[in-house]
């Protein structure tokens, strides 16, 4: 980002929205880095909340307000809670766990840095002179999103509800405890995944 800032004069006079976007983007990126590098498993889930909330603010800055609130509701409200339940049910250690990263961390770092360098180069080279016009009517208001969703995207929307139903049934089947006991009681670990998937369904 800084490299391209020196190359193009358009970057030297940022607007307020751009400054806010970059600052929140830095916070989001830092929280994401902490999510993948911290050795405390519960803290990783909490840093993920910061990263996803920062992304919701970025959506608001891009005038996609309905997406932003859906992001807050589903990701911060449900997915992170589900991940925390998963951490608890798999008896994740509280405090620092020394084996949170595997041995191929250096290889993963190399792959990620190479991918980041290549993609940043390509993206900056491609969109160096492209501007997004954020003025005028909001692109992602609830009115516009709902109208396009139920006018042009009704069939995918309904297909998606079938997919959610399949995921609900799949989660129930996977977490049934009838492997050892022939009764097949759905207790314990099955409940959080099922209830959360059911929440998405409604």
């Amino acid at each position: 980002m800084n490299l391209s800032a020196a190359a193009h004069p358009g970057f030297l006079s940022p607007t307020g929205v751009e400054i806010t976007f970059v600052l929140i983007g830095l916070a989001t990126l830092g929280a994401a880095l902490l999510t993948v590098t911290t050795r405390q498993l519960v803290h990783a889930a909490l840093w993920l909340v910061v990263a996803l909330g920062g992304l919701a603010v970025e959506y608001l800055l891009l005038t996609a307000e309905f997406i932003a609130w859906v992001q807050v509701l589903i990701y911060v409200g449900s997915v992170v809670v589900l991940l925390l339940f998963g951490l608890m049910l798999t008896k994740a250690p509280i405090g620092r766990s020394p084996d949170a990263d595997s041995e191929n961390r250096l290889v993963a770092l190399g792959v990620a840095l190479a991918a980041a360098a290549a993609l940043v180069w390509v993206v900056v080279d491609a969109f160096r002179t492209t501007w997004v016009d954020l003025h005028g009517v909001a692109q992602g208001s609830s009115h516009a999103t709902g109208e396009s969703l139920f006018r042009h995207w009704v069939l995918p929307f309904e297909a998606l509800s079938v997919l959610l139903l399949a995921a609900l049934v799949g989660a129930i089947v996977l977490s049934r405890r009838d492997a050892g006991s022939p009764g097949g009681a759905t207790t314990g670990a099955g409940s959080p995944a099922d209830s959360a998937t059911g929440k998405e369904q409604s």
Partner: protein
Amino acid sequence: MHLAYPAVLAVLLFCVGLYGVLARRNAILVLMSVELMLNAVNLNLVAFDVWLRDTVHAGQALTLFTITIAAAEIGLGLAIVLLVFRHRGSSDVDRLTGLAEPHGGPGAPHAPDASDATPTPAADDEKAEASA
């Protein structure tokens, strides 16, 4: 706003998620990194939708669909992780070598791996007999 800002942020978030998927050992942390990668894609979709001023709002509709599919994916993924944890007593992805090559590997002393590995020669024998 410059389009390079959201694009570069999405690229960096994707690569952070890529590092997490490759480097983490706990399966739930791998799922968190997958969520980061999906969110990077969502940011790209929203940014390009706003840039192109799409009349049917394909980018935002696809973002909503991606969020829903990610929620379904995390539910199913956690159900699978809990099932694996219940069977193996561990959710470390580099110990789940039941489908690995039979010779060598760090998961060799596990009992389920041995029982998984034993039917393979019998199946090979059957295949050899069938082909003969």
